[in-house]
Amino acid sequence: MTDLLRRLMRTPQGAIGLLLLAVLAAACLFGPWLAPHDPEKMDFLGRFRPLGAQNWFGADQFGRDVLSRLLVGARSTLPMALAATLLGTVAGAVVGTASAYLGGRWDEAIMRTIDAVMAVPGLLLALLLVSTLGNGAGNAMIAIAVTFAPGMARVTRAVALTVRGQDYVKSATVRGESASWIIFREMLPNVMAPVVIEATIRVSFAVMLFATLSFLGLGAQPPASEWGLMVAEARQYVHQAPWIIIAPSLAIAMTAIAFNLLGDGLRDAMNPRDER
């Protein structure tokens, strides 16, 4: 593990990704304590106060400190995106592995159905699900997880099929190992790496999808300082105070970039061909 971390730090993407992630993790863990102001405190004299010593990232339409809202808002964005990805990955990995293991007609039927489900654009599926489940952050998280599952199932199945064709798995089959040994001890450790990489990159999609749902009014609800919601609320004040749009926009982009970089870094670090 420490070895992987060291190799990750050696790739430029991995190093920058980890650095950005550390900042995000700090915001999630200590956001309320790091925040210079109370994120809910309104200050009508300070409405639309530009960037400066008093409010580093300016103040919004109610005079609330944008930086403080961003720091506290990290909690309502990032954990949700991570949980959605985790849920979707686990569900997808189970289906994908099962499909690869069953093989034959079952595999064919499962994969064709998954292809069909993927014909529904991701955002549309999430939209339908949220409208059924009801607006709110928790439901948005579940909708994103469901949206991700088919894609993860495809990725896992493709990797699992490659691994299943390897001679060491054949060797285990030939000596009469049980199905559970073959799946959990021979296949799974080799399937994990590519799936983890894929999942990492997908966190950035989850962050964006979650923010988009909130932006459309279906995810996190006011007065939460979820970043997508902050952008939505700030849109009508674009003339007075562009910074209240720009700050949360950049926060979303930075998070997405962090996970994209980390995923690419992991790909390089986990690739055994690069060992020398």
Binding site: Q166, D167, Y168, S171, R175, G176, E186, N190, R276
Partner: protein
């Protein structure tokens, strides 16, 4: 007479990580007009790098430290890229190892041949087309007109290599570099390509550098043979004398490792007890699907038996179904027909119980794929030990014993597969098979990816293990000379069918199948 190609004190490094790696050290060699120089060496000896250096196509991390490469009067090292383009193809041609990847898959064959002729001979399209037809006809390709309109995937590997050779000769270069041109082809196809090479070079008098790992083959096609080891040229001698009087130690090693059919390594006779009998075994991979015609079976009604302690060789070209037999016998492929093991009938993979799985073991072709990269050697070997007996208590002692049995240090138990060489990995795979104390070991092309000297030591190991344990081998290979050294009987397969099953001393007899005769004739036997 001046040499066509002459290298003087040529030295080259690859920059890797911390320090430079010496790949070619002080190479000096000449090729006279019309001469064929064979270049032999094991993988990593630098022979391919030398070819790339001559073609001026080196990787970015290559550093040329000293020396010269001259083609006739031209100093190749000092030429700018634009000038080099005019040399390549026109004055030096090259034929590659794998013809299937050397042609652009999305352009017709004819277009690619013409393009080269137009560019290198300065012909018009009409003339180039006519010349291409003539060239293809000259290398014994049927219906060149139709062939020219096909795409590379629509023709066979042998046909592609003929086309590439025809094109290289058709540009009338002074020198052609051949980089293992028959390695990717089947034995018989490869032999015909070699015949073609001999004829064309006699007709044209082009000088050639012929690179190969196969000393026996090179000594037949070359006038002179140069032997490389670790980037150095260790010996140069006329082809006729290199087998008879190898001077350098490396050459002696290579000569000793060349399998000679007359030099039998197995002298005993197997018993009469039939260990395993295959009765009309057919393997079919894909099932019938909607809107699709069923594919032909991989093997059709193959029947043979293996006696206890016997070595049975199965030979045939790729796609002949010989590996499918291994997959059927181990339950990896569904089959129809039946197997009898120790008199017990086995109708399908479900009938293969613990006793059968213990008794029948398999070693796969690719050592890289056959060991789980996320388990240590010790973990890999412990599984069959746990499954097939030996109590937990002396597990590590057993692992140590197994490693010693395959001539590896016991300390290797803690190593990961990627820390081992190809030969060492194959030894671990063999140890895993023998951990079960099997009575039959199926060896599926296990020596194919290894260097000849490593190959020889693996064979030696297998024979020693057989002497210790009395196991029988089903040895699947395409190396005829090797199998003639060790097998008691040989089964010849072609297009899924068993065409011959012969005792080893009958393979040269008159009554063999014509295909068997072709196969035997196609295997180069060492000269001298």
């Amino acid at each position: 007479m001046t040499a066509v190609l002459s290298l003087r004190n040529y030295t080259l490094d690859y920059l890797t990580g911390s320090r430079p790696l010496r790949v070619l050290q002080d190479i000096t060699l000449d090729i006279a007009p019309g001469e064929v120089l064979g270049l032999v060496g094991e993988s990593g000896s630098g022979k391919s790098t030398l070819a790339w250096a001559i073609m001026r196509h080196l990787p970015k991390n290559a550093r040329e430290l000293s020396g010269s490469i001259r083609l006739g009067d031209t100093d190749l090292r000092s030429l700018p890229p634009r000038e080099l383009t005019r040399i390549r193809g026109r004055r030096i041609g090259m034929v590659f190892q794998d013809p299937s990847t050397a042609l652009n898959p999305t352009l017709t064959v004819g277009r690619q041949v013409m393009e080269t002729l137009v560019n290198n001979r300065g012909l018009g399209r009409r003339e180039a087309w006519d010349l291409a037809l003539e060239l293809l006809g000259h290398v014994e390709l049927r219906d060149p007109e139709a062939l020219m309109r096909r795409y590379p995937h629509e023709i066979s590997g042998g046909e592609k290599q003929r086309i590439l050779i025809a094109t290289a000769f058709g540009c009338r270069p002074e020198l052609i570099v051949f980089d293992e041109p028959t390695t990717a082809l089947d034995v018989i196809t490869g032999a015909r390509i070699l015949d073609l090479f001999a004829r064309l070079r006699a007709e044209t008098g082009v000088a050639a550098l012929y690179i190969s790992h196969d000393l026996a083959l090179v000594s037949r096609v070359a006038d002179r043979v140069a032997v490389m080891k670790k980037g150095q040229l260790v010996e140069e001698a006329p082809a006729a004398s290199i087998f008879a009087r190898p001077a350098h130690e490396e050459t002696r090693k290579l000569v000793a490792a060349v399998p000679r059919p007359e030099n039998r390594l197995v002298h005993d006779r197997p018993g009469d007890r039939v260990l395993l009998a295959a009765e009309a075994v057919s393997v079919r991979y894909t099932r019938r699907r909607l809107f699709r015609p069923p594919p032909p079976p991989a093997t059709r009604a193959v029947g043979f038996d293996i006696k206890a302690g016997e070595i049975l060789g199965i030979v045939g070209e790729s796609g002949s179904g010989k590996s499918s037999i291994a997959r059927a016998l181990t339950g990896l492929a569904d089959f129809s027909g039946g197997i009898r093991f120790d008199g017990r009938p086995i109708g399908s993979a479900r009938d293969m119980d613990g006793a059968y799985r213990r008794a029948v073991q398999i070693v796969f072709q690719h050592p890289d794929g056959s060991l789980n990269p996320r388990q240590t050697v010790g973990e890999i070997l412990s599984r069959p030990l746990k499954l097939f007996g030996t109590g937990q208590a002396n597990l590590s002692a057993e692992i140590g014993r197994l490693l010693e049995q395959v001539r590896l240090p016991a300390a290797y138990a803690t190593r990961w597969p990627h820390q081992l060489s190809g030969g060492e990995k194959q030894r671990v795979a063999i140890a895993r098979a023998f951990a079960a104390r099997p009575s039959l070991v199926i060896c599926d092309e296990i020596t194919a990816p290894l260097d000849v000297s490593v190959q020889a030591s693996i064979i030696e190991l297998l024979l020693a293990l057989r002497a210790e344990t009395g196991a029988a081998y089903l040895f699947i290979t395409h190396d005829i000379n090797l199998i003639r050294q060790i097998a008691h009987r040989i089964a010849v397969m072609r297009r899924g069918e068993l065409v011959d099953l012969l005792p080893i001393d009958a393979v040269d007899a008159d009554h063999v199948h014509p295909y068997t005769r072709d196969l035997m004739a196609a295997s180069p036997t060492p000269v001298g």
